[in-house]
Protein backbone atom coordinates (compact mmCIF):
# COMPACT_ATOMS: atom_id res chain seq x y z
CA UNK A 1 0.00 0.00 0.00
CA UNK A 2 1.51 3.33 -1.03
CA UNK A 3 2.12 5.71 1.83
CA UNK A 4 -0.32 8.37 0.68
CA UNK A 5 -3.18 5.88 0.76
CA UNK A 6 -2.55 5.29 4.44
CA UNK A 7 -2.38 9.05 4.90
CA UNK A 8 -5.78 9.40 3.31
CA UNK A 9 -7.14 6.56 5.40
CA UNK A 10 -5.96 8.33 8.52
CA UNK A 11 -7.51 11.58 7.34
CA UNK A 12 -10.82 9.89 6.66
CA UNK A 13 -10.68 8.24 10.04
CA UNK A 14 -9.96 11.60 11.68
CA UNK A 15 -12.98 13.20 10.04
CA UNK A 16 -15.15 10.25 11.05
CA UNK A 17 -14.02 10.67 14.65
CA UNK A 18 -15.14 14.30 14.56
CA UNK A 19 -18.56 13.39 13.28
CA UNK A 20 -18.82 10.47 15.66
CA UNK A 21 -18.06 12.63 18.63
CA UNK A 22 -20.50 15.27 17.45
CA UNK A 23 -23.27 12.74 17.16
CA UNK A 24 -22.48 11.32 20.57
CA UNK A 25 -23.57 14.63 22.04
CA UNK A 26 -27.26 14.36 21.15
CA UNK A 27 -29.65 11.72 22.48
CA UNK A 28 -31.12 11.09 19.07
CA UNK A 29 -27.87 10.34 17.28
CA UNK A 30 -25.66 9.14 20.11
CA UNK A 31 -25.79 5.48 19.24
CA UNK A 32 -25.04 6.14 15.61
CA UNK A 33 -22.18 8.39 16.69
CA UNK A 34 -20.64 5.61 18.72
CA UNK A 35 -20.86 3.25 15.77
CA UNK A 36 -19.28 5.87 13.55
CA UNK A 37 -16.37 6.37 15.93
CA UNK A 38 -15.92 2.61 16.18
CA UNK A 39 -15.75 2.25 12.41
CA UNK A 40 -13.27 5.10 12.25
CA UNK A 41 -11.14 3.16 14.70
CA UNK A 42 -11.45 -0.02 12.70
CA UNK A 43 -10.51 1.81 9.53
CA UNK A 44 -7.41 3.23 11.16
CA UNK A 45 -6.40 -0.14 12.62
CA UNK A 46 -6.83 -2.01 9.36
CA UNK A 47 -4.98 0.71 7.49
CA UNK A 48 -2.11 0.54 9.96
CA UNK A 49 -1.86 -3.23 9.84
CA UNK A 50 -1.52 -3.06 6.06
CA UNK A 51 1.22 -0.48 6.41
CA UNK A 52 4.70 -1.28 5.25
CA UNK A 53 6.20 -0.16 8.55
CA UNK A 54 4.94 -3.23 10.36
CA UNK A 55 7.25 -6.17 10.06
CA UNK A 56 6.80 -8.37 13.14
CA UNK A 57 3.39 -9.82 13.77
CA UNK A 58 3.66 -12.14 16.76
CA UNK A 59 3.63 -9.49 19.45
CA UNK A 60 0.88 -7.56 17.74
CA UNK A 61 -1.28 -10.60 17.35
CA UNK A 62 -0.82 -11.68 20.96
CA UNK A 63 -1.55 -8.20 22.26
CA UNK A 64 -4.55 -7.67 20.06
CA UNK A 65 -6.13 -11.00 20.83
CA UNK A 66 -5.53 -10.70 24.56
CA UNK A 67 -6.82 -7.13 24.70
CA UNK A 68 -9.85 -7.85 22.60
CA UNK A 69 -10.88 -10.82 24.68
CA UNK A 70 -10.47 -9.00 27.96
CA UNK A 71 -12.30 -5.96 26.64
CA UNK A 72 -15.15 -8.07 25.34
CA UNK A 73 -15.54 -9.96 28.58
CA UNK A 74 -15.50 -6.86 30.72
CA UNK A 75 -17.96 -5.01 28.55
CA UNK A 76 -20.36 -7.91 28.37
CA UNK A 77 -20.42 -9.02 31.96
CA UNK A 78 -20.34 -5.85 34.03
CA UNK A 79 -23.63 -4.67 35.51
CA UNK A 80 -25.14 -1.40 34.35
CA UNK A 81 -24.70 0.11 37.78
CA UNK A 82 -20.96 -0.48 37.64
CA UNK A 83 -20.56 1.45 34.40
CA UNK A 84 -18.64 4.46 35.69
CA UNK A 85 -15.92 2.35 37.28
CA UNK A 86 -15.69 0.19 34.17
CA UNK A 87 -15.16 3.25 32.05
CA UNK A 88 -12.50 4.19 34.56
CA UNK A 89 -10.71 0.89 34.06
CA UNK A 90 -10.80 1.15 30.29
CA UNK A 91 -9.53 4.65 30.51
CA UNK A 92 -6.67 3.58 32.73
CA UNK A 93 -5.61 1.04 30.15
CA UNK A 94 -5.76 3.63 27.41
CA UNK A 95 -3.67 6.10 29.35
CA UNK A 96 -1.16 3.40 30.23
CA UNK A 97 -0.91 2.37 26.60
CA UNK A 98 -0.15 5.94 25.56
CA UNK A 99 2.57 6.22 28.15
CA UNK A 100 4.09 2.94 26.93
CA UNK A 101 3.90 4.01 23.30
CA UNK A 102 5.62 7.30 24.02
CA UNK A 103 8.34 5.57 25.99
CA UNK A 104 8.78 2.74 23.50
CA UNK A 105 9.07 5.01 20.50
CA UNK A 106 11.61 7.11 22.31
CA UNK A 107 13.59 4.02 23.17
CA UNK A 108 13.30 2.60 19.69
CA UNK A 109 14.23 5.53 17.53
CA UNK A 110 15.36 8.32 19.79
CA UNK A 111 14.07 11.81 19.14
CA UNK A 112 12.91 10.85 15.64
CA UNK A 113 11.21 14.08 14.71
CA UNK A 114 12.80 17.31 13.71
CA UNK A 115 13.24 19.20 16.96
CA UNK A 116 15.07 17.04 19.45
CA UNK A 117 14.11 18.88 22.60
CA UNK A 118 10.52 19.19 21.47
CA UNK A 119 10.25 15.43 20.91
CA UNK A 120 11.70 14.77 24.33
CA UNK A 121 9.23 17.16 25.90
CA UNK A 122 6.25 15.59 24.20
CA UNK A 123 7.44 12.14 25.08
CA UNK A 124 7.83 13.19 28.71
CA UNK A 125 4.37 14.70 28.64
CA UNK A 126 2.95 11.50 27.17
CA UNK A 127 4.57 9.29 29.79
CA UNK A 128 3.59 11.62 32.61
CA UNK A 129 -0.03 12.21 31.68
CA UNK A 130 -0.58 8.63 30.54
CA UNK A 131 0.79 7.20 33.77
CA UNK A 132 -1.23 9.57 35.95
CA UNK A 133 -4.33 8.57 34.05
CA UNK A 134 -3.45 4.91 34.50
CA UNK A 135 -2.91 4.83 38.24
CA UNK A 136 -5.58 7.50 38.94
CA UNK A 137 -8.17 5.55 37.04
CA UNK A 138 -7.53 2.41 38.99
CA UNK A 139 -7.78 4.22 42.30
CA UNK A 140 -11.06 5.76 41.14
CA UNK A 141 -12.25 2.33 40.13
CA UNK A 142 -11.27 1.01 43.52
CA UNK A 143 -13.16 3.74 45.30
CA UNK A 144 -16.32 3.16 43.35
CA UNK A 145 -16.07 -0.59 43.64
CA UNK A 146 -15.36 -0.38 47.36
CA UNK A 147 -11.82 -1.78 47.29
CA UNK A 148 -10.47 1.58 48.39
CA UNK A 149 -12.39 3.52 51.05
CA UNK A 150 -14.82 5.94 49.38
CA UNK A 151 -14.35 8.75 51.86
CA UNK A 152 -11.65 11.34 51.14
CA UNK A 153 -8.38 9.85 52.35
CA UNK A 154 -6.07 12.42 53.77
CA UNK A 155 -2.68 11.86 55.30
CA UNK A 156 -0.20 13.92 57.23
CA UNK A 157 2.18 16.21 55.38
CA UNK A 158 0.06 15.91 52.26
CA UNK A 159 1.04 19.32 51.02
CA UNK A 160 4.77 18.76 51.54
CA UNK A 161 4.66 15.37 49.94
CA UNK A 162 2.89 16.77 46.92
CA UNK A 163 5.51 19.45 46.58
CA UNK A 164 8.36 16.95 46.73
CA UNK A 165 6.66 14.77 44.17
CA UNK A 166 6.16 17.69 41.91
CA UNK A 167 9.78 18.68 42.00
CA UNK A 168 10.89 15.10 41.41
CA UNK A 169 8.68 14.93 38.35
CA UNK A 170 10.30 18.06 36.99
CA UNK A 171 13.73 16.62 37.52
CA UNK A 172 12.83 13.29 35.95
CA UNK A 173 11.34 15.02 32.94
CA UNK A 174 14.40 17.13 32.51
CA UNK A 175 16.56 14.03 32.74
CA UNK A 176 14.49 12.34 30.05
CA UNK A 177 14.84 15.28 27.71
CA UNK A 178 18.51 15.92 28.35
CA UNK A 179 20.08 12.48 28.65
CA UNK A 180 19.81 9.70 26.16
CA UNK A 181 19.16 7.03 28.81
CA UNK A 182 15.63 6.67 27.64
CA UNK A 183 14.69 3.34 29.26
CA UNK A 184 15.84 4.32 32.73
CA UNK A 185 14.56 7.88 32.51
CA UNK A 186 11.20 6.69 31.21
CA UNK A 187 10.85 4.16 33.98
CA UNK A 188 11.69 6.76 36.62
CA UNK A 189 9.25 9.27 35.22
CA UNK A 190 6.54 6.67 34.86
CA UNK A 191 7.05 5.48 38.42
CA UNK A 192 6.77 8.97 39.83
CA UNK A 193 3.75 9.74 37.67
CA UNK A 194 2.01 6.58 38.79
CA UNK A 195 2.52 7.66 42.36
CA UNK A 196 1.16 11.10 41.52
CA UNK A 197 -1.98 9.58 40.01
CA UNK A 198 -2.60 7.66 43.19
CA UNK A 199 -2.02 10.63 45.45
CA UNK A 200 -4.20 12.87 43.32
CA UNK A 201 -7.25 10.67 43.48
CA UNK A 202 -7.02 9.24 46.98
CA UNK A 203 -8.06 12.46 48.77
CA UNK A 204 -11.16 12.90 46.63
CA UNK A 205 -14.50 11.61 47.93
CA UNK A 206 -16.31 8.75 46.27
CA UNK A 207 -19.17 10.97 45.16
CA UNK A 208 -16.82 12.95 42.95
CA UNK A 209 -15.39 9.87 41.22
CA UNK A 210 -17.42 10.19 38.00
CA UNK A 211 -16.02 13.68 37.56
CA UNK A 212 -12.54 12.42 38.30
CA UNK A 213 -12.91 9.67 35.75
CA UNK A 214 -14.07 12.17 33.18
CA UNK A 215 -11.05 14.33 33.92
CA UNK A 216 -8.67 11.39 33.70
CA UNK A 217 -10.38 10.49 30.46
CA UNK A 218 -9.48 13.90 29.15
CA UNK A 219 -5.90 13.29 30.32
CA UNK A 220 -5.60 10.02 28.48
CA UNK A 221 -6.78 11.77 25.34
CA UNK A 222 -3.98 14.27 25.79
CA UNK A 223 -1.55 11.41 26.39
CA UNK A 224 -2.59 9.86 23.09
CA UNK A 225 -2.02 13.21 21.44
CA UNK A 226 1.45 13.38 22.99
CA UNK A 227 2.19 9.89 21.72
CA UNK A 228 1.10 11.11 18.32
CA UNK A 229 3.68 13.86 18.45
CA UNK A 230 6.39 11.40 19.39
CA UNK A 231 5.38 9.14 16.53
CA UNK A 232 4.74 12.00 14.14
CA UNK A 233 1.25 10.68 13.55
CA UNK A 234 -1.38 13.40 12.96
CA UNK A 235 -4.31 11.05 13.52
CA UNK A 236 -3.21 10.40 17.08
CA UNK A 237 -2.58 14.08 17.63
CA UNK A 238 -6.01 14.99 16.33
CA UNK A 239 -8.12 12.28 17.92
CA UNK A 240 -6.30 12.64 21.21
CA UNK A 241 -6.77 16.41 21.29
CA UNK A 242 -10.40 16.05 20.31
CA UNK A 243 -11.07 13.71 23.19
CA UNK A 244 -8.94 15.80 25.50
CA UNK A 245 -11.04 18.87 24.83
CA UNK A 246 -14.33 17.03 24.87
CA UNK A 247 -13.37 15.43 28.15
CA UNK A 248 -12.56 18.78 29.69
CA UNK A 249 -15.84 20.33 28.63
CA UNK A 250 -17.70 17.27 29.80
CA UNK A 251 -15.96 17.44 33.13
CA UNK A 252 -17.03 21.04 33.47
CA UNK A 253 -20.60 20.19 32.56
CA UNK A 254 -20.62 17.42 35.15
CA UNK A 255 -19.22 19.75 37.76
CA UNK A 256 -21.88 22.30 36.94
CA UNK A 257 -24.58 19.68 37.27
CA UNK A 258 -23.15 18.95 40.74
CA UNK A 259 -22.65 22.58 41.63
CA UNK A 260 -18.88 22.16 41.94
CA UNK A 261 -16.11 24.04 40.19
CA UNK A 262 -13.68 22.18 38.00
CA UNK A 263 -10.69 23.63 39.81
CA UNK A 264 -12.18 22.37 43.00
CA UNK A 265 -12.22 18.81 41.76
CA UNK A 266 -8.99 18.86 39.76
CA UNK A 267 -6.76 20.58 42.25
CA UNK A 268 -8.83 20.22 45.37
CA UNK A 269 -6.66 17.28 46.24
CA UNK A 270 -3.54 19.38 46.47
CA UNK A 271 -5.17 21.61 48.96
CA UNK A 272 -5.94 18.65 51.15
CA UNK A 273 -9.34 17.81 49.82
CA UNK A 274 -11.31 19.69 52.44
CA UNK A 275 -13.87 21.14 50.06
CA UNK A 276 -14.34 17.89 48.28
CA UNK A 277 -14.76 16.18 51.57
CA UNK A 278 -17.35 18.62 52.80
CA UNK A 279 -19.86 17.31 50.32
CA UNK A 280 -20.02 13.85 51.74
CA UNK A 281 -20.24 14.96 55.35
CA UNK A 282 -23.15 13.45 57.20
CA UNK A 283 -25.94 15.43 58.87
CA UNK A 284 -28.51 16.22 56.20
CA UNK A 285 -30.47 13.44 54.64
CA UNK A 286 -29.37 13.04 51.03
CA UNK A 287 -31.73 14.02 48.24
CA UNK A 288 -31.16 13.52 44.57
CA UNK A 289 -31.03 16.91 42.91
CA UNK A 290 -31.76 17.20 39.26
CA UNK A 291 -31.53 19.88 36.63
CA UNK A 292 -34.03 21.19 34.14
CA UNK A 293 -32.08 19.52 31.34
CA UNK A 294 -32.17 16.11 32.91
CA UNK A 295 -35.80 16.35 33.92
CA UNK A 296 -36.71 17.48 30.42
CA UNK A 297 -35.00 14.47 28.92
CA UNK A 298 -36.84 12.17 31.25
CA UNK A 299 -40.16 13.74 30.29
CA UNK A 300 -39.44 13.82 26.59
CA UNK A 301 -38.78 10.10 26.46
CA UNK A 302 -41.56 9.06 28.81
CA UNK A 303 -44.73 7.58 27.46
CA UNK A 304 -46.99 8.56 30.37
CA UNK A 305 -46.65 11.55 32.64
CA UNK A 306 -48.82 12.69 35.55
CA UNK A 307 -48.56 16.21 36.88
CA UNK A 308 -49.51 16.84 40.50
CA UNK A 309 -50.16 20.53 41.08
CA UNK A 310 -50.20 22.00 44.58
CA UNK A 311 -50.28 25.30 46.36
CA UNK A 312 -46.81 26.16 45.03
CA UNK A 313 -48.18 26.20 41.48
CA UNK A 314 -50.66 28.80 42.62
CA UNK A 315 -48.07 30.85 44.47
CA UNK A 316 -45.84 30.88 41.43
CA UNK A 317 -48.85 31.51 39.16
CA UNK A 318 -47.31 28.88 36.96
CA UNK A 319 -50.50 27.59 35.40
CA UNK A 320 -49.73 28.96 31.96
CA UNK A 321 -46.29 27.38 31.97
CA UNK A 322 -47.82 24.09 33.06
CA UNK A 323 -50.26 24.25 30.19
CA UNK A 324 -47.47 24.96 27.77
CA UNK A 325 -45.41 22.00 28.95
CA UNK A 326 -48.39 19.70 28.69
CA UNK A 327 -49.15 20.88 25.18
CA UNK A 328 -45.62 20.19 24.07
CA UNK A 329 -45.51 16.78 25.69
CA UNK A 330 -48.83 15.82 24.16
CA UNK A 331 -47.64 16.91 20.77
CA UNK A 332 -44.76 14.46 21.20
CA UNK A 333 -47.26 11.71 21.86
CA UNK A 334 -46.79 11.54 25.62
CA UNK A 335 -49.95 10.80 27.62
CA UNK A 336 -50.30 13.54 30.22
CA UNK A 337 -52.78 13.88 33.06
CA UNK A 338 -53.22 16.18 35.99
CA UNK A 339 -53.86 14.49 39.32
CA UNK A 340 -56.03 16.85 41.36
CA UNK A 341 -56.02 16.22 45.07
CA UNK A 342 -59.20 17.29 46.86
CA UNK A 343 -57.39 19.68 49.18
CA UNK A 344 -54.50 20.81 47.01
CA UNK A 345 -54.02 24.53 47.39
CA UNK A 346 -55.71 26.67 49.98
CA UNK A 347 -59.35 26.66 49.00
CA UNK A 348 -61.69 24.08 47.59
CA UNK A 349 -61.25 23.93 43.84
CA UNK A 350 -58.06 26.02 43.93
CA UNK A 351 -56.35 23.93 41.26
CA UNK A 352 -59.45 23.92 39.09
CA UNK A 353 -59.57 27.70 39.03
CA UNK A 354 -55.93 27.95 38.04
CA UNK A 355 -55.95 25.28 35.39
CA UNK A 356 -59.19 26.55 33.91
CA UNK A 357 -57.59 29.96 33.64
CA UNK A 358 -54.79 28.42 31.60
CA UNK A 359 -57.41 26.62 29.52
CA UNK A 360 -56.34 23.10 30.47
CA UNK A 361 -59.07 20.83 29.10
CA UNK A 362 -61.23 19.40 31.86
CA UNK A 363 -60.75 15.85 30.67
CA UNK A 364 -57.08 15.97 31.59
CA UNK A 365 -57.98 16.52 35.25
CA UNK A 366 -58.25 13.25 37.13
CA UNK A 367 -59.52 12.70 40.66
CA UNK A 368 -57.55 11.07 43.41
CA UNK A 369 -59.50 7.83 43.34
CA UNK A 370 -59.16 7.45 39.60
CA UNK A 371 -55.49 8.30 39.35
CA UNK A 372 -54.10 6.40 42.31
CA UNK A 373 -54.22 2.96 40.68
CA UNK A 374 -52.44 4.44 37.65
CA UNK A 375 -49.29 5.64 39.34
CA UNK A 376 -47.66 2.23 39.22
CA UNK A 377 -47.98 2.36 35.44
CA UNK A 378 -46.80 5.94 35.13
CA UNK A 379 -43.30 6.65 33.84
CA UNK A 380 -42.80 10.06 35.37
CA UNK A 381 -44.74 12.02 37.96
CA UNK A 382 -44.06 15.73 38.19
CA UNK A 383 -45.04 17.18 41.55
CA UNK A 384 -45.29 20.94 41.15
CA UNK A 385 -45.35 22.86 44.42
CA UNK A 386 -47.36 20.16 46.17
CA UNK A 387 -46.24 18.71 49.45
CA UNK A 388 -48.77 17.52 52.00
CA UNK A 389 -51.01 15.95 49.39
CA UNK A 390 -48.21 13.59 48.31
CA UNK A 391 -46.78 12.94 51.76
CA UNK A 392 -46.57 9.19 52.44
CA UNK A 393 -46.56 9.94 56.17
CA UNK A 394 -50.32 10.23 55.85
CA UNK A 395 -50.32 6.45 55.76
CA UNK A 396 -48.77 6.26 59.25
CA UNK A 397 -51.49 6.39 61.88
CA UNK A 398 -49.33 8.43 64.24
CA UNK A 399 -48.77 11.33 61.85
CA UNK A 400 -50.72 14.54 62.23
CA UNK A 401 -51.92 14.20 58.67
CA UNK A 402 -52.93 10.59 59.20
CA UNK A 403 -56.17 9.67 57.53
CA UNK A 404 -55.88 12.14 54.68
CA UNK A 405 -56.04 10.25 51.42
CA UNK A 406 -52.91 11.06 49.42
CA UNK A 407 -51.80 10.76 45.84
CA UNK A 408 -49.62 7.65 45.73
CA UNK A 409 -46.92 9.19 43.60
CA UNK A 410 -44.28 7.15 45.40
CA UNK A 411 -45.58 4.10 43.56
CA UNK A 412 -44.47 5.36 40.16
CA UNK A 413 -41.19 4.85 38.31
CA UNK A 414 -39.76 8.33 38.60
CA UNK A 415 -40.85 11.34 40.59
CA UNK A 416 -39.68 14.85 39.84
CA UNK A 417 -40.53 17.28 42.63
CA UNK A 418 -40.45 20.97 41.77
CA UNK A 419 -40.26 23.26 44.78
CA UNK A 420 -37.91 25.93 45.99
CA UNK A 421 -36.44 24.18 49.00
CA UNK A 422 -37.01 21.32 51.38
CA UNK A 423 -39.29 23.43 53.55
CA UNK A 424 -42.55 21.84 54.60
CA UNK A 425 -46.05 22.66 53.39
CA UNK A 426 -49.24 23.68 55.19
CA UNK A 427 -49.07 20.85 57.71
CA UNK A 428 -45.52 21.80 58.66
CA UNK A 429 -44.06 18.30 58.54
CA UNK A 430 -41.21 16.75 56.62
CA UNK A 431 -41.96 14.65 53.57
CA UNK A 432 -40.19 11.26 53.15
CA UNK A 433 -41.08 11.27 49.46
CA UNK A 434 -38.27 13.71 48.82
CA UNK A 435 -35.63 11.25 50.04
CA UNK A 436 -36.64 8.26 47.99
CA UNK A 437 -34.27 6.87 45.41
CA UNK A 438 -36.78 7.38 42.67
CA UNK A 439 -37.38 11.00 43.57
CA UNK A 440 -35.46 13.81 41.94
CA UNK A 441 -35.70 17.27 43.43
CA UNK A 442 -35.76 20.22 41.05
CA UNK A 443 -35.26 23.16 43.38
CA UNK A 444 -36.72 26.17 41.63
CA UNK A 445 -39.68 28.47 41.43
CA UNK A 446 -42.44 26.51 39.75
CA UNK A 447 -42.95 28.99 36.91
CA UNK A 448 -39.26 29.07 36.08
CA UNK A 449 -38.91 25.31 36.24
CA UNK A 450 -41.96 24.56 34.11
CA UNK A 451 -41.02 27.23 31.62
CA UNK A 452 -37.54 25.77 31.38
CA UNK A 453 -38.86 22.25 31.00
CA UNK A 454 -41.16 23.33 28.19
CA UNK A 455 -38.28 24.94 26.39
CA UNK A 456 -35.94 22.00 26.84
CA UNK A 457 -38.43 19.31 25.95
CA UNK A 458 -39.15 21.13 22.75
CA UNK A 459 -35.47 21.00 21.85
CA UNK A 460 -34.73 17.39 22.66
Amino acid sequence: MPEFVLDLVYLASAVLFVFGLKQLGSPVTARRGNALAASAMLLAIVGTLLDRGIVTWEIIATGLVAGTIIGLLLARTVKMTAMPQLVGVFNGFGGGASALVAAAELIRSGPGVDAGAAAGVTAAAGILVGSVSFSGSFIAFGKLQGFVPGRPLTYPLQRTLNLILFLSLLVASGYLVASAEYPIASAMLAGLALLLGILLVLPIGGADMPVVISLLNSYSGLAASAAGFVLGNPLLVLAGALVGAAGLILTRLMCKAMNRSLANVAFGAFGGGETAGALTEEGEKPVRRTSVDEAALLLAYASSVVIVPGYGLAVAQAQHEAKKLVDILRKRGVTVKFAIHPVAGRMPGHMNVLLAEADVPYDLLVDLDDINPEFARTDVVVVVGANDVVNPLAREPSSIIAGMPILDVDRSQNVIVIKRSLSPGFAGIDNPLFYLDRTMMLFSDAADALGGLAREVKEV
Binding site: G20, L21, L24, G25, S26, P27, A30, G33, N34, A37, I45, D51, G53, I54, V55, T56, I59, G63, T68, I70, G71, L74, A75, M83, P84, V87, F90, G94, G95, A97, S98, L100, V101, A103, I107, R108, A115, A119, N217, S220, A223, A224, S225, A227, G228, N233, L236, V237, A241, L242, V243, G244, A245, A246, I249, L250, T290, S291, E294, A296
Partner: protein
Protein backbone atom coordinates in the same frame (compact mmCIF):
# COMPACT_ATOMS: atom_id res chain seq x y z
CA UNK B 1 7.27 25.55 8.48
CA UNK B 2 8.21 22.67 10.70
CA UNK B 3 6.28 19.44 10.82
CA UNK B 4 6.20 19.62 14.59
CA UNK B 5 4.75 23.11 14.39
CA UNK B 6 1.92 22.09 12.14
CA UNK B 7 1.35 19.24 14.57
CA UNK B 8 0.68 21.95 17.13
CA UNK B 9 -1.82 23.53 14.75
CA UNK B 10 -3.59 20.23 14.40
CA UNK B 11 -3.57 19.83 18.14
CA UNK B 12 -4.95 23.31 18.83
CA UNK B 13 -7.57 23.09 16.14
CA UNK B 14 -8.70 19.69 17.35
CA UNK B 15 -9.01 21.01 20.87
CA UNK B 16 -11.07 23.98 19.71
CA UNK B 17 -13.24 21.69 17.64
CA UNK B 18 -13.68 19.37 20.61
CA UNK B 19 -14.86 22.28 22.71
CA UNK B 20 -17.31 23.41 20.08
CA UNK B 21 -18.75 19.94 19.57
CA UNK B 22 -19.55 19.31 23.21
CA UNK B 23 -21.33 22.45 24.28
CA UNK B 24 -24.81 21.46 25.28
CA UNK B 25 -25.08 17.86 26.31
CA UNK B 26 -28.02 16.74 28.46
CA UNK B 27 -26.84 15.29 31.78
CA UNK B 28 -28.20 11.85 31.02
CA UNK B 29 -25.73 11.62 28.17
CA UNK B 30 -22.76 12.53 30.34
CA UNK B 31 -21.73 8.99 31.18
CA UNK B 32 -22.22 7.50 27.70
CA UNK B 33 -20.43 10.44 26.15
CA UNK B 34 -17.55 10.06 28.58
CA UNK B 35 -17.39 6.41 27.73
CA UNK B 36 -17.52 7.03 23.99
CA UNK B 37 -14.80 9.67 24.18
CA UNK B 38 -12.74 7.29 26.23
CA UNK B 39 -13.03 4.65 23.54
CA UNK B 40 -11.83 7.16 20.96
CA UNK B 41 -8.83 7.97 23.11
CA UNK B 42 -7.86 4.34 22.53
CA UNK B 43 -6.58 5.63 19.18
CA UNK B 44 -3.20 5.22 20.80
CA UNK B 45 -3.65 1.61 19.69
CA UNK B 46 -2.45 2.76 16.26
CA UNK B 47 0.75 4.01 17.81
CA UNK B 48 1.11 0.83 19.81
CA UNK B 49 0.74 -1.25 16.65
CA UNK B 50 3.42 0.75 14.88
CA UNK B 51 5.80 0.45 17.80
CA UNK B 52 5.11 -3.19 18.50
CA UNK B 53 5.32 -4.25 14.89
CA UNK B 54 8.00 -1.84 13.74
CA UNK B 55 11.57 -2.65 12.94
CA UNK B 56 14.01 -2.93 15.80
CA UNK B 57 12.17 -5.17 18.20
CA UNK B 58 13.67 -5.54 21.64
CA UNK B 59 12.42 -3.66 24.67
CA UNK B 60 10.45 -1.20 22.55
CA UNK B 61 8.55 -3.97 20.81
CA UNK B 62 7.72 -5.67 24.10
CA UNK B 63 6.51 -2.43 25.62
CA UNK B 64 4.59 -1.88 22.40
CA UNK B 65 3.01 -5.30 22.73
CA UNK B 66 1.83 -4.54 26.23
CA UNK B 67 0.53 -1.23 24.94
CA UNK B 68 -1.34 -3.03 22.14
CA UNK B 69 -3.09 -5.25 24.64
CA UNK B 70 -3.99 -2.39 26.95
CA UNK B 71 -5.16 -0.13 24.16
CA UNK B 72 -7.17 -2.95 22.63
CA UNK B 73 -9.00 -3.43 25.91
CA UNK B 74 -9.80 0.26 25.92
CA UNK B 75 -11.02 0.30 22.34
CA UNK B 76 -13.00 -2.91 22.27
CA UNK B 77 -14.46 -2.60 25.75
CA UNK B 78 -15.03 1.12 25.40
CA UNK B 79 -17.13 1.05 22.26
CA UNK B 80 -19.11 -1.97 23.38
CA UNK B 81 -19.95 -0.62 26.77
CA UNK B 82 -20.94 2.74 25.31
CA UNK B 83 -23.30 1.01 22.98
CA UNK B 84 -24.79 -0.94 25.85
CA UNK B 85 -25.48 2.25 27.70
CA UNK B 86 -26.94 3.99 24.69
CA UNK B 87 -29.28 1.17 23.90
CA UNK B 88 -31.21 2.15 27.02
CA UNK B 89 -32.06 5.52 25.51
CA UNK B 90 -34.10 4.12 22.73
CA UNK B 91 -37.68 5.19 23.02
CA UNK B 92 -39.99 2.26 23.94
Amino acid sequence: MGEWLIGIYVFVLAMLLGFELITRVPPTLHTPLMSGANAISGITLIGALLVAGGEGGGLAAVLGGVAVAMAAINVVGGFLVTDRMLRMFRKD
